[in-house]
């Protein structure tokens, strides 16, 4: 029968047709037509055209069209006697099949036969296919054939057998042993292709098995000899690449030497000379030479080389940094990054070149230069390095800013030459890259500022001035708000020593803070900070009425938004820094929350909500609440609170005060009751009485059982109204059941810290 037009199409005719398609849809239509024709041809079991039809199918597969219906046809081609058929058949098998399909097992017999074929190119096809996609079963079945071919004198087959063996070993590691005898004289080969793949095979075996590694260590002298011959031999046209004899083989050998020399003194010593020779004699004007040098450097750094050799290696990397070729600079920086810890001093010598790479246009090079620069910062070069890094921070792409800012903070913390320099550096980062600093930077910085007591006036002044310029960068605004809240008194009294003190009034400060509250640039967290700052200033400023007004207007909204965002923050899965309850960030935000909550104490009609069952929308919607007292949840939160600046104060053997602060005329105190005896205290009730000038309100305690042996505590929050600012004294009565008997304990507590009532 006359074959249909399509099935006899040459591959090139199909390609030409498809290329005339003007749209994707047109192309799809052509392909579908062609596939239909090919399918029917396959069904007719037409041997003549099977080959070219599979070729067409592979072309269409490359374009993304399904071709699985050709899988079996590939197998038929493989089984054919014609080399042409086998060539396409094996290619098709490699492109369309994989071991997940049962069909592939049908190849096993064909491959076995072809491995023993009289034509080496057929054997080559079989080795190639087995080495690409052979499944474990196939490898097990045919490993013996591969091993035989590994010993042949036919170099074309021998080199393929070596790589095929690598695949077999990867699939079936237990078979590694069987290839050991064949490796005996692999390195005596003259053919470079065989040498190359043999080294690959040896490398694979050494990497997989410590025993093999030990066994092959004795090959080091032979490898060194081969390498030496490559370097010393004159021009050899057969292997020459840009004036270097077989650079690919040199690189392979160097890599194997690296593996053999690692953690072995004797092997490392045996290769010392050749490494030095390669390092000094290799021509560097071409990429192939640099590839060899690069591999040499990596080997020197990885084995137990003597220090002179290591310095030589690092100097090579230093020279690479000055190379015009970006690729060379890239690999140099990558390698230096790996060695900066172990050979720090040697790398330091190239510091200025590394810093210059910060200005490179290539993003990958810039990133490595930045990482390396931070690794090289120390007490001696901090000022100079920081100048460069801050300049980099100013001008770099946004993708770098967060990491760079973190790096600057870390370096400054470790090596700051003075407190003033430290604060200035922080200011610089906050003002230039303020929106990119990490969430946890804010509490860390605040901690730092708090601890630099003599810099408080200077810091608050600088931060205040920064706020006047720009309120869009949230971390900056948050840190500034905090400082103004803490040190606002220093600000208005103009006490700055480090620079010219500015004149600013209480009203101006409050204007700025209020501005933050209303600005739509401020996030809820920022608003929480600024409101907290305003509240704190009530004890430092005299414009109390103004503050009261602000608080009453914004208080509950702030609290709601703040706790919302806080909750969202703690429910995030990606922020590992933030979520740890011991982290400064967590404790810190609770502190602010605490402030905001406390203002609710001021509104009498809201007082009950924390102690009783009244449903109040504000708290209910923002905090997770248990069906029982809503106060309990909040108490858990508040009970966690123990900022480093307020340490636990023991009031009596049982009781300790963990937190207190004063807001307007009231003080909120958190007391913990603990039990060191070996029995629980149940039905625990806390009662307190205070002198007449005070008023007292007790929230519901967190529970009525104090576990034995310090396994837990009961938290009791007390609000004390102290209009006359007298020293707080309290009589405390504790009633509980202990070992079955009721107990009553009376205590007089007079050692409240001054800040709890002043």
């Amino acid at each position: 029968p006359v074959p249909s037009l399509h099935q006899s199409h040459l591959l090139r005719e199909l390609i030409r047709t498809i290329r005339t398609a003007r749209t994707q849809a047109e192309e799809r239509e052509m392909i579908q037509k062609e596939c239909a024709a090919i399918r029917s041809s396959f069904r007719e079991e037409d041997n003549t055209y099977r080959c070219r039809n599979v070729a067409k199918l592979l072309y269409m597969h490359m374009l993304g069209y399904p071709a699985h219906f050709g899988q079996l046809e590939c197998l038929k081609l493989i089984a054919s006697q014609k080399f042409t058929d086998k060539r396409i058949g094996y290619l098709g098998a490699m492109l369309l099949l994989d071991e997940r399909q049962d069909v592939h097992l049908l190849m096993t017999n064909c491959i076995k036969n072809d491995l023993n074929h009289s034509t080496q190119y057929v054997q080559g096809l079989a080795l190639c296919t087995l080495g690409c996609m052979g499944s474990s079963e196939m490898c097990r079945d045919l490993a013996g054939e591969v091993e035989k071919l590994l010993k042949t004198s036919n170099s074309y087959l021998r080199k393929k057998a070596a790589l095929c063996a690598v695949h077999v070993i990867r699939k079936v590691p237990e078979l590694m042993e069987m290839f050991l005898p064949a490796t005996k004289n692999l390195l005596s080969e003259k053919n470079h292709g065989v040498l190359h793949t043999s080294v690959v095979l040896l490398t694979e075996m050494c990497e997989r098995s410590p025993d093999m590694l030990l066994h092959f260590r004795k090959l080091v002298p032979q490898l060194v000899r081969i390498l030496k011959n490559l370097i010393m031999s004159g021009y050899s046209p057969e292997h020459d690449v840009s004036g270097i004899s077989d650079p690919f083989l040199q690189v392979r050998i160097l890599r194997l030497l690296r593996i053999l020399g690692r953690s072995d003194d004797d092997s490392s010593e045996a290769m010392n000379d050749i490494l030095a020779q390669v390092a000094t004699n290799t021509e560097t004007s071409k990429n192939v030479g640099n590839a060899i040098l690069y591999e040499t450097v990596l080997t020197i750094m990885d084995i137990k080389s003597e220090s002179g050799l290591r310095v030589l290696a690092i100097n090579i990397l230093g020279r690479f940094l000055l190379n015009n070729d970006k690729n060379i600079r890239y690999v140099a920086l990558t390698s230096l990054l790996k060695t900066v810890q172990t050979d720090h001093n040697a790398v330091q010598r190239h510091r200025s070149t590394i810093v210059d790479c910060l200005k490179d246009l290539d993003v990958s090079i810039k990133r490595r230069a930045m990482e390396l620069s931070f690794a090289l910062v120390n007490g001696n070069n901090i000022r100079g390095m920081m100048k460069e890094l801050l300049y980099f921070l100013d001008s770099c792409d946004p993708e770098f800013k967060a990491d760079c800012a973190s790096g600057v903070f870390l370096a400054a913390e470790k090596y700051a030459p003075s407190k003033r320099w430290h604060i200035d550096t922080i200011m610089r980062v906050l003002t230039t890259a303020g929106s990119y600093v990490r969430d946890d930077s804010v509490p860390n910085l605040i901690q730092l500022i708090t601890n630099s007591v003599e810099m408080h006036a200077y810091t608050v002044q600088r931060l205040y001035k920064a706020l006047l310029d720009d309120i869009s960068q949230q971390p900056l605004v948050q840190v500034s708000s905090w400082c103004i809240g803490e040190y606002g008194d220093l600000l208005v009294s103009g006490q700055c020593e480090e620079e010219e003190p500015i004149q600013v009034t209480e009203d101006e400060v409050l204007d700025v803070l209020e501005g933050l509250l209303v600005s739509n640039l401020s996030t809820p967290v920022t608003r929480g900070y600024s409101l907290t700052a305003i509240m704190k200033l009530s004890t430092r400023f005299s414009s109390v009425n103004r503050i009261k007004k602000v608080v009453s207007i914004y208080g509950s909204i702030c609290l709601q938004m703040y706790s919302h965002s806080l909750q969202a923050l703690f429910c995030r899965n990606d922020s590992t820094v933030v979520l740890s309850k011991s982290s400064l960030f967590y404790r810190f935000n609770l502190h602010v929350l605490y402030y905001l909550v406390s203002l609710l104490f001021q509104a009498n009609d809201l007082l009950d909500l924390l102690g009783g069952n009244d449903v109040v929308p504000v708290i209910q919607t923002t905090l997770p609440t248990k069906p029982a007292s809503a106060g309990g949840e909040l108490l858990d939160l508040l009970g966690d609170l123990s900022l480093s600046s307020r340490t636990s104060l023991s009031l009596s053997p049982f009781l300790s005060l963990t937190h207190s602060f004063t807001f307007f005329l009231s003080t909120v105190i958190t007391i913990h009751a603990t039990n060191t005896t070996e029995a629980d205290m149940t039905e625990f009730v806390f009662q307190a009485a205070v002198p007449k000038t005070f008023q007292l309100q007790l929230l519901s305690p967190s529970s009525n059982m104090v576990p034995a042996l310090n396994q837990g505590s009961v938290t009791q929050v007390i609000r004390v109204l102290n209009p006359q600012k007298q020293q707080l004294r309290m009589r405390v009565k504790l009633t509980y059941t202990h070992k079955g008997s009721p107990v009553q304990d009376l205590a007089e507590v007079n050692n409240f810290p001054p800040q709890s009532w002043q």
Binding site: R19, K160, L163, V200, E238, R255, V331
Partner: protein, 192 residues
């Protein structure tokens, strides 16, 4: 290990695709698209190494590429390969193609995808470098082609096919698409 070798043109049309690790068909096409996207937006004066690309190999995975006029040659490798070495290997492959096709151009790759695969098979096998000596590779390919020819082949000898193709009137195809003089386009390597 070389995980994949991709050749596509400036518009992302694939000219040769070879994966040495199993990927489902649709993932393969995704990888091609993603790789093209990453590589095509690179400036000419940045380095030839790219990290990123999430589909192959996770984090131990780099793209090493060379751009010759209308074609990108991209090798996707893991950390066991030397970056500079792979650059040289790409050069070897391209110059081998040049020798096999006599001043290779994109058209040759388009119409002889199978032959390009056969040549590649003599350079890289199972994701590992097999042979780097150009003359060896070309010689072995030649011998195999002769075997095919003597059997009648399935679509005439390559040399004839190439000239036949070059003579076909393809009105919508600009006639001057080619890789260009390789020696000139690759400034850091000297002519062989």
């Amino acid at each position: 290990m070389i995980k994949a070798i991709l050749i596509f043109n400036n518009h992302g049309k694939p000219r040769l695709i070879r994966f040495y690790e199993y990927f489902a068909e649709d993932v393969q096409q995704q990888i091609i698209r993603e790789t093209f996207h990453l590589v095509s937006k690179r400036d000419d004066n940045v380095c030839n190494f790219l990290e990123g690309g999430s589909l192959i190999g996770g984090s131990d995975y780099k793209l090493i590429y060379r751009h010759y006029a209308t074609l990108y040659f991209v090798f996707c490798v893991d950390s066991s390969e030397s970056e500079l070495g792979i650059l040289d290997l790409i050069q070897v492959f391209v110059e081998t193609l040049d020798k096999c096709f006599e001043n290779v151009c994109e058209l040759d790759l388009i119409f002889h995808m199978d032959k390009v695969h056969f040549i590649l098979q003599e350079v890289v096998m199972g994701g590992m470098v097999l042979e780097t000596n150009m003359n060896e590779i070309v010689g072995q390919v030649e011998l195999q082609n002769r075997m095919e020819k003597s059997e009648g082949g399935f679509s005439a000898a390559p040399a004839r096919a190439v000239s036949a193709v070059k003579n076909i009137n393809l009105p919508e195809m600009p006639r001057n698409i080619n890789i260009g003089d390789i020696n000139i386009k690759v400034p850091s390597l000297s002519p062989f």
